[in-house]
């Protein structure tokens, strides 16, 4: 059949073109599936410790300079009568001069994954929605053309239909409440 030839060409070339987005959606799909167990956007680590005595009476601005954060500092706010929160880069340093302790919250952005998640969850809105739609339509085409483009005994009628049906059993079992 002539049409199989064209399905094959389009399946291959659209496959190449959308492989990147498929990978992006697959990776971010994994990430957001587990958003309740795991932060898919940032890696956050806490470091606690005693504040060296010589820092304890310093005013915030001096303290910041002494800590060597002056270059990257974004600002600071008083969070209590004797405590201050200092922002540098994505990180936060809480200093409690009364208790004489500090807590550093170091934030590393999972920058690629976070970007992918934003695409997946449609946080960009606007025109991205349309490209995301296009991707869905292409996925439809890829799965449907993939079903019918192989000929002979490895084709849909002889082999594909069974695998397709088998693959549908699991989501149907979930939807009907047999599995949960």
């Amino acid at each position: 059949m002539r049409i199989r030839k064209y399905l094959r060409i389009w399946h291959r070339d659209l496959g190449y073109f959308f492989a990147g987005i498929t990978i992006i959606f697959a990776l971010s799909g994994l990430a957001v599936n587990h958003i309740d167990d795991w932060n898919p956007n940032y890696k956050i680590t806490h470091y606690d410790g005693p504040l060296p005595a010589r820092f304890q009476d310093m005013p915030p601005l001096i303290l910041v300079k002494e800590l060597g954060l002056a270059d990257s500092i974004k600002g600071f706010v008083k969070t209590g009568p004797a405590s201050v929160r200092i922002f540098f880069g994505m990180n936060v340093l809480d200093v409690d001069r009364e208790a004489g302790v500090y807590r550093l919250e170091k934030v590393e952005e999972r920058s690629w994954l976070r970007a992918f998640n934003r695409l997946h969850l449609n946080e960009l809105k606007n025109n991205w929605v349309w490209f995301s739609d296009l991707f869905a339509v292409v996925l439809l085409f890829l799965s449907l053309s993939g079903l019918v483009m192989v000929r002979g005994k490895k084709g849909f009628a002889k082999r594909g239909v069974w695998l397709l049906a088998l693959g549908m059993v699991i989501p149907i079992m979930f939807l009907s409440g047999i599995m949960s």
Partner: protein, 152 residues
């Protein structure tokens, strides 16, 4: 060589052109800001009034970006700013930046369970020992239901 040059172009394109100001949610309609101190001195009188507040973003919900904490620069006061999940997503990068937020003040009375949970967290944060018997009645929390915001 060809492939290398493609990767290079992609990497270059990836350099994010960061905007100066970012808008979230609806357009801001009010002109004048109200200080957090004015609001927190008499929060009851501000319930149901649309206000514009400004301050430094001290914290952001790390998972879904569905709330942020706004602090007054002088008084050490802070206010929780809440949005509906998914409607506005505040980025963690906002911490330390200036923000103006338009919204309405809400008063939430916690249950005893929630109050105890909250005090436990607070004590852990301050390195104090938590004593359940000190919690005798539910906390009242004021927060801002955000409609629109501009960060930095």
């Amino acid at each position: 060589m060809k492939r290398m040059s493609i990767i290079f172009v992609l990497a270059l394109a990836m350099v994010v052109v960061g905007g100066d100001q970012k808008k979230y949610g609806k357009e801001i309609t009010l002109k004048e800001t109200t200080s957090l101190k004015t609001i927190m001195d008499n929060p009851e009188s501000w319930l149901g009034k649309k206000v514009l507040v400004q301050g430094t973003v001290t914290d952001v919900c790390k998972k879904r970006g569905c709330w942020m904490k706004l602090a007054d620069d002088k008084e050490g006061l802070s206010l929780l700013v809440k949005v509906r999940d998914g409607e506005i997503v505040f980025p963690l990068e906002a911490r330390g930046k200036k923000a103006v937020v338009e919204g309405a003040l809400e008063k939430i009375t916690l249950t005893m369970e929630e109050t105890i949970e909250r005090h436990k967290d607070q004590c852990q944060l301050n390195g104090e020992k938590f004593e359940a018997k000190k919690v005798t009645r539910p906390d009242v929390v004021y927060r801002l239901r955000a409609l629109g915001a501009v960060i930095q």
